[in-house]
Symmetry: C2
């Protein structure tokens, strides 16, 4: 997890995956199952989403799904990795953005996400479930946030000329990341009342100006 463009930022994967010839070891079937799994988990959640429904959308029986992924839990893990790969390929060839450029990239990502409610819903539902006891996606999200916090903290420090170790910088980074996730929940519940891009843009602008204006202070 090193890209800022992680997960709720992927391009529709079907195009890239289906355009190529069948990958080694029936990768096409696997991709179809993963697409079906994402839509089912988005609509029902992981706990409540059944292998039978995933299988039906992928055109097979639930035993067929298990043949490909071994267990429901391994299917979820594969889905999380699959989405990550799709996102990384979006950035391939370009250099990973830094400083103010990364902050602008975050805003563009949020705006793009407004066009992909399905992916956002799957992400939000799985994130919400992930804090339950022994949830298989917990480690994924924990390390995702760890990476995001590092990236955004660094970018904010560079963009404002402050030290990344200052507590204000870290608080600001955590707040921006939190806002992006919380806005998705609000938006999914009432899309007309929430402009995720506008809110993110204003928050980032307000925070960077605040950090430029206030005196360097806290350290740990």
């Amino acid at each position: 997890m090193t890209m800022p463009d992680v997960w709720p930022a992927a391009a529709p994967s079907s195009g890239a995956a289906k355009a190529t010839r069948p990958q080694k070891r029936s990768g096409k079937r696997r991709a179809e199952i993963l697409d079906a799994a994402m839509s089912v988990f988005a609509e029902r959640g992981y706990a409540n989403g059944s292998l039978a429904e995933i299988a039906e959308r992928a055109g097979m029986t639930h035993a067929g799904v298990l043949h490909h992924f071994g267990s429901k839990e391994q299917l979820l893990i594969a889905l999380l990795e699959y989405r990550d790969e799709a996102d990384v390929s979006t950035l391939e060839g370009r250099h990973a953005p830094e400083g103010a450029e990364l902050l602008e990239h975050l805003i563009r990502t949020v705006e793009r996400n407004e066009q992909r409610p399905g992916i956002i819903q799957a992400y939000s539902v799985l994130l919400g479930e992930s804090v339950t006891d022994t949830h298989p996606a917990r480690a994924f999200f924990t390390s995702r946030f760890e990476g995001l916090r590092t990236m955004v903290t660094t970018a904010l420090a560079e963009a404002t000329g402050r030290d990344p170790g200052e507590s204000d910088i870290r608080a600001a980074a955590n707040g921006i990341i939190g806002a992006m996730d919380g806005l998705q929940e609000q938006w999914l519940l009432d899309k007309q009342s929430v402009d995720m891009g506008a809110a993110t843009r204003l928050l980032i602008r307000a925070v960077t100006e605040e950090l430029r204006a206030s005196p360097p202070d806290g350290r740990a």
Copy 2:
């Protein structure tokens, strides 16, 4: 839903509920079931939490739980209302805060929430699940956010001398509310790395200063 102190802000209800004599119609048993339900839903989610486990923690069989609440869905609805009432009683006697005072109240609420991971986890898990299809808590959260957006927008407008109809004011309110929810997910996954209060405080300060400084602009 008119209070800002809603839900992830309640005082431990057991004290108040158990101190009084049995309420009319076995309210004490109901409260014990509701407390058990909150802990089970926090740990397993609503979809994955079973009536049998709730019943066990409340010291009865699952048929007993159904005797009191009729169905699992009605138990959830009752739980959401029950938490709301506990929060409202916290504010009783005081006037509902407004303007800058409400913004300070939000920060205090976030700081207090850092002492009650169980309630925060139940809230976060149910919020995440609520965006799934036909989830019984969906209406609750939708109207909760509607109320919060109105309150925070009004408070921000009062605190900065701007018009509550401006798009910047609404974007700022949505961003602050979103940050509070998103920070909870981050915090639940890694409590040591996230200071919810510090992040909320910085965001509110940055946003209010930004709104005071920038020219009145957008209207709808």
